[in-house]
């Protein structure tokens, strides 16, 4: 067994929270440039220019790219040969978020109870997804998720008879009804199959894939391309002010499914497509 001390987990999570909020990945910025060249609306072009400039200013390190620095969603892959020592992993993940959001001057947006709504003032707790994987490494991804785009997300339990077209229509309709609210241009994460809960998780995990990277199965790769085209025909445009650039990409993830079921989920990601990964 390889031993990993919790102090290293705390430090890594804190650093990832800060980096994710200040440094937009190049695939997203390149995508802004790509769509800016194709965009017909002058207002849309001006907005995409602002987003490119905004990312450059944030990278200087004084301001996070968006004031909504999100719910800290953590994907933790734990190698089965790893032994966590020195304390409790859950506490370490919490402490990492607390430290990162404090030291990075990031906004604390979490309330301790969904109805009584008192802010925890340190952005804890995170949402944590763990997976046990082969090997002796710990892989941590921090994906801060803003409220505006999360609010436009949805799970729907379709009938198997609804089939491929049913799923595609649901995805396009969800984006259409969202209009400018999720801060387009968006990245659309789609989960298909599994159970009610697994399907939502797939849609969230789909957001971590780099822009432009297609699903390895050509059937789903083609579906991603078709959905992106249909969504960009909606005319919503950047910020909902009209244009050709409503989504930068669509990522589909799938899982085996019960004979009676066809769950589908859409997780909307605003243009601040933040996620950073470290391997310990």
């Amino acid at each position: 067994m390889r031993e990993i001390h919790v102090d290293q987990v705390v430090k890594t999570v804190a650093e990832l929270c800060i980096a994710a909020n200040y440094e937009l990945d190049e695939d997203v910025i390149e995508s802004f440039r790509h769509f800016r060249e194709k965009e017909e609306s002058p207002t849309a072009r001006a907005i995409l220019d602002q987003l490119i400039e905004n990312a450059a200013i944030a990278r200087e390190g004084l301001f996070p790219m968006c004031q909504d620095t999100g719910f800290a969603v953590l994907f933790v892959e734990i190698g089965q040969e790893v032994h966590i020592v020195g304390g409790d992993l859950w506490e370490a993940l919490n402490e990492g978020v607390r430290k990162g959001y404090g030291e990075g001057y990031l906004r604390k947006s979490i309330v301790a109870d969904p109805l009584r709504r008192v802010n925890t003032k340190d952005n804890t707790p995170p949402v944590v997804w763990t997976e046990i994987v082969p090997g002796d490494k710990l892989t941590i991804t921090v994906a801060p998720k803003g409220g505006g785009s999360e609010n436009m997300s949805e799970v729907r339990m379709l009938r198997p008879a609804d089939g491929v077209e049913g799923v595609k229509n649901f995805v396009v309709d969800r984006v259409s009804r969202s209009g400018g609210n999720p801060c387009p241009p968006v990245i659309v994460g789609v989960g298909i199959g599994g159970t009610f809960d697994k399907c939502a998780w797939l849609a969230k995990k789909a957001l971590l894939r780099p822009i432009g990277q297609r699903h390895p199965d050509p059937f789903y790769a083609d579906m991603e391309v078709e959905l992106l085209e249909r969504i960009n025909r909606l005319g919503i445009g950047p910020q909902g002010l009209g244009g050709r650039t409503t989504a930068l990409d669509v990522h589909v993830e799938v899982y085996p499914c019960h004979i009676a079921s066809l769950p589908a989920a859409v997780n909307m990601q605003c243009h601040a497509a933040r996620h950073k990964t470290a391997v310990i």
């Binding site: 017909e40 907005i47 987003l51 620095t69 801060c183 605003c270």
Partner: protein, 185 residues
């Protein structure tokens, strides 16, 4: 895009009347911040017939919940929050002489009617362009409801704050018109 129109607060009826959806503007002067919780209190004061903590006549309210400021800086990141949550409150403030709001996303029918009836304007700032917008904010001070933290009402001094006219006093609505123009059936 056409050259941005420079406007300075407070705004007059004449200035508001000239603004049309799609116009790009750079705002200089004072703007006030406020979002859900602060709006609820302002509207409660009006209902009780009490004075507001600041005079809204000719002013703009920016729907924003900034990230914390680093020491020595006027503000943290300061992009707009979603405006429809303020739909129940905005018409009452417009009737008091508020000349406009800045936020993101479409505002409702009652707000649109109030914009027309009282000559006010709704500007969209670019959601998520919070670092860029923060650079146009020179100074901030809390004027009311400090207990609300990030939701307190602040007085901001801004220079060339970038925004786009989204709903104007002539009934124009860029969310509808823009989408219709670029939709491919």
């Amino acid at each position: 895009m056409a050259e941005a129109i420079k406007i300075t607060t407070p705004l007059t009826d004449e200035q508001v009347e000239k603004l049309r959806v799609g116009d790009s503007v750079l705002i200089t002067g004072v703007i006030y911040t406020g979002r859900d919780a602060a709006h609820k209190r302002l509207v409660e004061l009006l209902a009780e017939g009490k004075p507001l903590p600041f005079d809204v006549k000719g002013q703009l309210i920016y729907y924003v919940g900034p990230s914390p400021a680093r020491p020595g800086m006027p503000i943290g990141s300061a992009g707009p929050t979603t405006s429809y949550r303020m739909d129940p409150y905005a018409p009452a403030l417009i009737r008091q002489g508020l000349k406009g709001m800045i936020g993101k996303g479409e505002m409702g029918a009652e707000v649109a009617q109030a914009l027309q009836a009282h000559k006010a304007v709704y500007f969209a700032a670019v959601g998520g362009a919070a670092a860029l917008i923060a650079k146009s904010i020179l100074k901030s001070e809390v004027v009311a409801y400090e207990d609300l933290g990030a939701e307190a009402i602040q007085r901001l001094e801004v220079k060339n704050f970038p925004a786009i006219v989204a709903q104007d006093c002539h009934g124009g609505n860029i969310y509808r018109e823009g989408r219709a123009k670029y939709e491919v059936k």
